[in-house]
C-alpha cells in the first residue's frame, strides 16, 4: 500500500513545481472568488482543478506531485481566505478510506467517492472492530451474504468514531465462513444512512461517548460498493491500518508539551501539595517523558535522513504507559481535590480531551491508551516477533475454517 501511494516523483524539480503550483492557485482564485463562491462549490472546483491533494492522480483531485508540495497549495489557499475542507471532521475518510479507495477501488468508485470525501460533503467512518473481535480482528463475525448484485450484511461493530455523523463507512465482513479466517473476508463501502444501520453511542468510563456501536441488520450493499476482490478483505484492511499507523507518527512535542507539562505546572503552582515521595516520582516521570520525546524526535531525524528504524514500534507502548503513570501521579498529588470529578454527564465529544478537563478525566481516559489502536500486549508481540525475531505464538487458528474455530 505504501508503495501504491502516488506522487513518489514529479516531473519538475521542487522549486519550479512550487512556483507552478502557486501560479495555478492564483489562476484558480482569479476564476473563483472565495468571498463570492459557495464554499462547497469552491471546494469541488478546487478538487477538479487538481489542487486538492496534489499527490493524488490527475482527475482525482491531484497532479501526481510529491506529497511535500501539498503545503504550498494549502498555504496559498489559506492566505487567500479560501474555504477549508475541514480535514479534522473527516480524519478517517482522509487518512484511511481515501488511500484504500485509491489503491483498491475501481475507477468508478474513485470518481464517485473521492471528491465528496475530500470536500467534506461525505464523512466516512470505519466498521472493523467487533465485540468478539478486538486484538484478533480477523476473527470477526459480521456476515455479508451475496444475493445477485448486492450483499446482505448483518452484524455488530464497535469502537466506531464518527459513526453518528458519517455518511459512509468502510466495512470488513465475512463472506465465506468455510475459509480460514483471514481468507473469508471482503471489504465494502457501506451507506450509513441505509435501512438497517443503527448507530448507538458507546458510553465509556469517563462518562462520555467518543465512540459508537453500529448494529447492521440485513443492510443492503450493492456489489458495486465492494472494494477489492471477494476474499481479499484482509489484505485491503491491512493496507488501511498501515495508513493509520503512518499517520500516528507525524506529530511533534515540545519539552513539557504533553501530560508531563500539566503535572509539572501543577507541581510548581502547589508547594503545599509537595512531598518527598511525590518529588521522586515526578522527577522520574519527567525524565522518562523527556527521553520519550527525544526518542520520538530522533526517530523523525532518522526518517528524514532516510534511515528508517524499528524504534517507532515502541513509541506507542511508552506513550500509553507514561500517560497512565503521569495522570495517576497527578491525581495523587492533588489529594483531596483528586477525589472530585468534573462531570459524569453523557456527552458526544470528537475525541479525547486530555488538556481541557480535569485530572480524574485524564487518569480514566489514559487507561484506554494501552487498549485503543493496538493493545500494549499486541504491540509487545509485534516488537518481539518482528523486531527481535523471536518465535511467533503457536497458532492453531490460521488454517482451519473460520466456522470451526473456538470463540
Amino acid at each position: 500500500m505504501l508503495n501504491a501511494e502516488p506522487g513518489a516523483g514529479g516531473a519538475l524539480p521542487e522549486p519550479d513545481a512550487a512556483a507552478e503550483l502557486r501560479r495555478q492557485v492564483a489562476a484558480f482564485l482569479a476564476a473563483h472568488d472565495p468571498a463570492a463562491t459557495d464554499p462547497a462549490e469552491f471546494l469541488r472546483a478546487r478538487f477538479d482543478a487538481g489542487l486538492a491533494w496534489v499527490h493524488y492522480p490527475p482527475g482525482l483531485g491531484g497532479q501526481s506531485l510529491p506529497r511535500t508540495l501539498q503545503k504550498v497549495v494549502d498555504a496559498a489557499f489559506a492566505a487567500a481566505g479560501a474555504p477549508a475542507h475541514r480535514a479534522d471532521r473527516n480524519a478517517i475518510g482522509l487518512g484511511m478510506a481515501a488511500p484504500t479507495i485509491l489503491a483498491y477501488g475501481t475507477d468508478e468508485q474513485k470518481r464517485r467517492w473521492l471528491r465528496p470525501l475530500w470536500t467534506g460533503e461525505e464523512i466516512w467512518c470505519q466498521l472493523f472492530s467487533e465485540p468478539g473481535a478486538g486484538s484478533d480482528l480477523a476473527s470477526l463475525s459480521t456476515r455479508a451474504v451475496r444475493d445477485g448484485d448486492r450483499w446482505i450484511v448483518s452484524g455488530q461493530k464497535v469502537w466506531t468514531s464518527s459513526a453518528h455523523v458519517a455518511d459512509r463507512g468502510i466495512l470488513l465482513a465475512r463472506t465465506d465462513p468455510e475459509q480460514p479466517k483471514h481468507q473469508g473476508l471482503t471489504y465494502f463501502s457501506v451507506n450509513m444512512k441505509a435501512p438497517g444501520v443503527e448507530v448507538r453511542p458507546l458510553r465509556q468510563a469517563t462518562g462520555e461517548a467518543e465512540f459508537n456501536e453500529v448494529f447492521l441488520t440485513d443492510v443492503e450493499v450493492p456489489d458495486a460498493d465492494r472494494i477489492g476482490e471477494v476474499g481479499q478483505g484482509w489484505q485491503v484492511a491491512t493496507a488501511t491500518l498501515m495508513n493509520e499507523r503512518v499517520a500516528l507518527g507525524a506529530f511533534t512535542f515540545p519539552r513539557e508539551g504533553g501530560m508531563i507539562g500539566v503535572a509539572a505546572r501543577r507541581w510548581r503552582e502547589s508547594p503545599q501539595l509537595r512531598t518527598p515521595g511525590l518529588h521522586e516520582r515526578l522527577l522520574r516521570l519527567w525524565a522518562q517523558a523527556e527521553v520519550s520525546r527525544l526518542a520520538g524526535e530522533r526517530l523523525r531525524q532518522q526518517l528524514a535522513a532516510g534511515q528508517p528504524g524499528p524504534e517507532g514500534s515502541g513509541a506507542k507502548i511508552v506513550f500509553a504507559r507514561l500517560n497512565q503513570e503521569i495522570s495517576d501521579f497527578e491525581v495523587e498529588l492533588l489529594g483531596a481535590e483528586g477525589l472530585r470529578y468534573g462531570d459524569w454527564a453523557m456527552r458526544r465529544p470528537e475525541g479525547a480531551d486530555f488538556y481541557g478537563r480535569d485530572a480524574g478525566y485524564r487518569y480514566l481516559r489514559s487507561r484506554a491508551n494501552s487498549i485503543e489502536g493496538g493493545t500494549t500486549e499486541i504491540l509487545k508481540n509485534i516488537v518481539a516477533e518482528r523486531v527481535l525475531g523471536l518465535p511467533p505464538e503457536i497458532r492453531l487458528d490460521k488454517d482451519k475454517p473460520w466456522k470451526d474455530l473456538p470463540r
Binding site: 465509556q204 515521595g277 483531596a336 477525589l339 494501552s370 500494549t376 470463540r407
Partner: protein, 399 residues
C-alpha cells in the same frame, strides 16, 4: 539451594514471632462473611450499584437497613451494654472486605467504623456519646465523621469549623458551630455529623444533619459508589462529645481504625476484581484461544494474585492489632493501608486492561472498581504518607 530463610536469630526472635496475633479467619468470621455476602449478592449486584450512582439518592438506605438491622453490621464495634455486638475490628474488617467486593453503596465505613470509633473513647464520660452509639449500633441512625476523606491518621488538619455565639435562648450544653468541611465520606445519608471544632477548648461535636444551619452539598466524586459531600455550618446547634486533647485523640483513633478497615475494603475489592478478570480471560477467546492461555497474561495475573496474598496478610494483621489494641497498631495500619491501596489499584487497572475495550465501557463493572480503587488509595492517607509514617515508627529517619 537456598530457601526463603537462612536467618533465624534464635529463641528470642522466635518468641517475638509467637506473639504475632492470629491473622487467619476464625470460624465466626467465616460465618459473618457468608451472611454479609449473601445479602450483597442479592441486593448489590453490579448493575444495581451502577444504577444507584445515577439515582437521586446515591446511597442505598434500604440495603443499609438490612445490613445494619438484620445482619448486625452497624453494631459490631458497639459495646454489648449499649446494645451492640461487642465484636472487634477483626469482624469489622470481614464486613469491610465484603463491602469492598460489592462496592456496596452503604455508609458502613463512615458510620459503623469512623463515627463509631470516634465515639467509643467518649462512651465512658459523655452520655450523648453513649446514646448515639446505641442508635448507630441499632441502625436507627447513621453518622459521619466530618473530616475531609483524604485526611491521613497521623496528620489531622486544623479544624475548619469554629464555635460561635448562639442566641440567648439556647438550652444549656448547646454550642453553635460555623464553618465548612469539604469532601466528607458517607455524610449524605448521615443523621448526625461528628464535627471537630475549634474553640476554648476545641472539641468534637455532634450535629444533627436535619436542622437549620446545616447545608450538605453532594460532590461529583471520582468514586461514584461513595459520593462525598461538602458540609457548611452556619451557627448550627451542636453538643460536645469530647473536649481538648481527648477530642483530637478520638479523631486520630477513628482515622487510624478507618484506614485499617479501608485496607480491608481494598483487599475485598482487589480479590473481586481478580475473580471477575479471571472469569473473563478464561472465557474470552482471541486467536482461537482463551486470552487467559497467553503466558504474559498468566504471569500478570499470577503477580496480582501474589500481591493479594501479601495484602491479605497486611490487612489481617492490622485488623488483629486494632482488635487487640496492640502497641504495634500504628505500624500495622500504615503497612496495611500502603499495601492494600497499591494492590487494589493494581487490581483495578489490570481489570480494565485485561478486559480490553469492554473494560473501558460504562456498562461493565470494571470502571467502578477502578474508581473505587483510585479514590481509596488517596482516602485516609496515600501509600506514600503511610510509608512516611513508618520512618518514625520503626526508626528509619529521613536524610
Amino acid at each position: 539451594m537456598e530457601g526463603p530463610a537462612e536467618v533465624s536469630e534464635g529463641a528470642a526472635a522466635r518468641e517475638r514471632d509467637a506473639r504475632l496475633p492470629d491473622m487467619t479467619y476464625r470460624e465466626e468470621e467465616v460465618q459473618l462473611r457468608a451472611a454479609v455476602r449473601s445479602v450483597l449478592d442479592d441486593r448489590a449486584d453490579w448493575r444495581s450499584v451502577l444504577a444507584r450512582t445515577e439515582a437521586a439518592q446515591t446511597y442505598d438506605t434500604g440495603l443499609w437497613q438490612v445490613l445494619a438491622g438484620q445482619v448486625g453490621c452497624a453494631g459490631l464495634l458497639v459495646p454489648q451494654e449499649l446494645g451492640g455486638a461487642g465484636a472487634s475490628f477483626r469482624e469489622a474488617a470481614v464486613v469491610a472486605e465484603e463491602a469492598g467486593r460489592a462496592l456496596a453503596p452503604v455508609p458502613y465505613l463512615g458510620s459503623a467504623v469512623l463515627a463509631t470509633a470516634a465515639l467509643l473513647p467518649a462512651a465512658g464520660q459523655a452520655p450523648q456519646a453513649r446514646e448515639l452509639l446505641a442508635e448507630l449500633g441499632a441502625g436507627t441512625a447513621t453518622a459521619a465523621l466530618a473530616v475531609p476523606f483524604a485526611t491521613a491518621p497521623g496528620a489531622p488538619p486544623e479544624p475548619t469549623v469554629r464555635i460561635v455565639p448562639g442566641p440567648a435562648g439556647d438550652p444549656a450544653g448547646t454550642y453553635r458551630l460555623s464553618g465548612s468541611v469539604t469532601g466528607v465520606a458517607d455524610a449524605l445519608p448521615a443523621d448526625v455529623l461528628l464535627v471537630p471544632g475549634d474553640g476554648v477548648p476545641a472539641g468534637l461535636f455532634a450535629v444533627r444533619a436535619a436542622q437549620a444551619g446545616v447545608t450538605m452539598t453532594p460532590v461529583t466524586s471520582l468514586d461514584m459508589t461513595r459520593q462525598l459531600a461538602d458540609l457548611t455550618l452556619e451557627a448550627a446547634p451542636a453538643s460536645r462529645i469530647a473536649a481538648g486533647p481527648a477530642a483530637g485523640a478520638a479523631v486520630t483513633a477513628a482515622l487510624r481504625a478507618g484506614a485499617g478497615m479501608l485496607a480491608a475494603e481494598q483487599l475485598g475489592l482487589a480479590e473481586r476484581a481478580l475473580e471477575i478478570t479471571l472469569a473473563y480471560v478464561k472465557q474470552r477467546h482471541q486467536f482461537a484461544r482463551p486470552v487467559g492461555s497467553f503466558q504474559a497474561i498468566k504471569h500478570r495475573l499470577a503477580d496480582l494474585w501474589v500481591a493479594i496474598t501479601q495484602a491479605r496478610a497486611a490487612s489481617r494483621y492490622a485488623a488483629a492489632c486494632l482488635a487487640g489494641q496492640d502497641p504495634d497498631t500504628p505500624v500495622a495500619v500504615a503497612l496495611a493501608k500502603a499495601t492494600c491501596s497499591e494492590v487494589a489499584l493494581l487490581a483495578g487497572q489490570e481489570m480494565v486492561q485485561l478486559h480490553g475495550g469492554i473494560g473501558f465501557t460504562w456498562e461493565h463493572p470494571a470502571h467502578l472498581y477502578l474508581k473505587r480503587a483510585k479514590a481509596t488509595s488517596i482516602a485516609l492517607g496515600t501509600p506514600e504518607r503511610h510509608r512516611a509514617a513508618l520512618a518514625d515508627l520503626v526508626g528509619l529517619p529521613a536524610p
